[in-house]
Symmetry: C3
């Protein structure tokens, strides 16, 4: 029934981790290929830009897992997922573009949540994709 269709349901989850030192955020080509201009601006404004880039990198990988599609690694598709802080709370918000947006729409995914964390050495992220609520 329509009522059932309009209830939310978790479609997928994703977790990812990386050593911060293994994400080459010192490499301008890598950064330009994988992060949007707004993400770059945000990460460069943070106390530890390498940690911020790494946290977003694992966030994007976790979101690909939650969407149930294989990421293309260092290819352009990582840029299709944009993670920016909510202006009020600072909590990370997800915007999908391009192929990632199409994949989500094909699976009727309407909400993608992500949380990021980094210690001094490791960045970790968790993501969750839900159908319409």
């Amino acid at each position: 029934s329509e009522l059932l269709n309009s209830t939310g349901s978790v479609a997928g989850v994703g977790v990812d981790q990386e050593l911060i030192s293994s994400v080459p955020s010192w490499n301008p080509t890598f950064v330009e290929r994988n992060f949007t201009p707004s993400e770059v601006e945000y990460c460069r404004s943070q106390p530890s830009p390498p940690a911020s880039f790494a946290a977003r990198w694992v966030g994007k990988e976790a979101i690909f897992k939650a969407l149930g599609v294989a990421s293309k690694g260092a290819a352009a598709a990582m840029k299709d997922i944009e993670i920016l802080p909510d202006p009020e709370t600072g909590a990370p918000q997800v915007q999908l573009h391009g192929d990632a947006k199409q994949a989500a729409e094909a699976k009727k995914i309407e909400k993608v949540l992500v949380s990021l964390s980094h210690s001094e050495t490791v960045a970790i992220a968790f993501a969750q994709a839900s159908t319409s609520a």
Copy 2:
């Protein structure tokens, strides 16, 4: 409609990690400020109290992220989130108090789930906040 309002939906997720050694559970002021008496009693009864305190610490941080409110770090607000084992299963259960409870109610969050894990060196937690089911 009322039916839609009565379906549950995940409102936020949170992940956090810390080196166990970076959570100063040997400091009585830190412990008293951030943990409830029941939490202190439980953590001190465990095989590794530093690991148990650290797991709860990251649990509280993860819950703040899932609630979408900024934590106040070492301030008193951490004590507003209480994580105690279920008497039957041992699984961690969340009770909100004070400001954390008010923040959750304002967002219509009715269920907060958390899971904790620690290795010998690192504590990690995942939390999820849902609206009414």
Copy 3:
């Protein structure tokens, strides 16, 4: 009402981590006791079998936490949870058997999601159990 009963709701979450080196996948008795034949075949076909076995090990622990039942550690029950890649996407899919299946049915859990990640040294997993959607 029936409509309410037919909406999905997250019943539990679980996170777990281990050093890859602490999961004794070189031990045939350990492997035979804790992994199904299909899991063994899959892990042995991967670039790093120890990492794949460790990721599945923490995945099983995370699923036990999400189900809200205590795992039996190195006992046979770990084999009741089978994690195999989706043939199309490669995403890990969960099949419950035996006691784990009964525990899930008793709690009306109909969907178990899991995500796995490993770095060079650490394996981590997140699991989520939901009631019927």
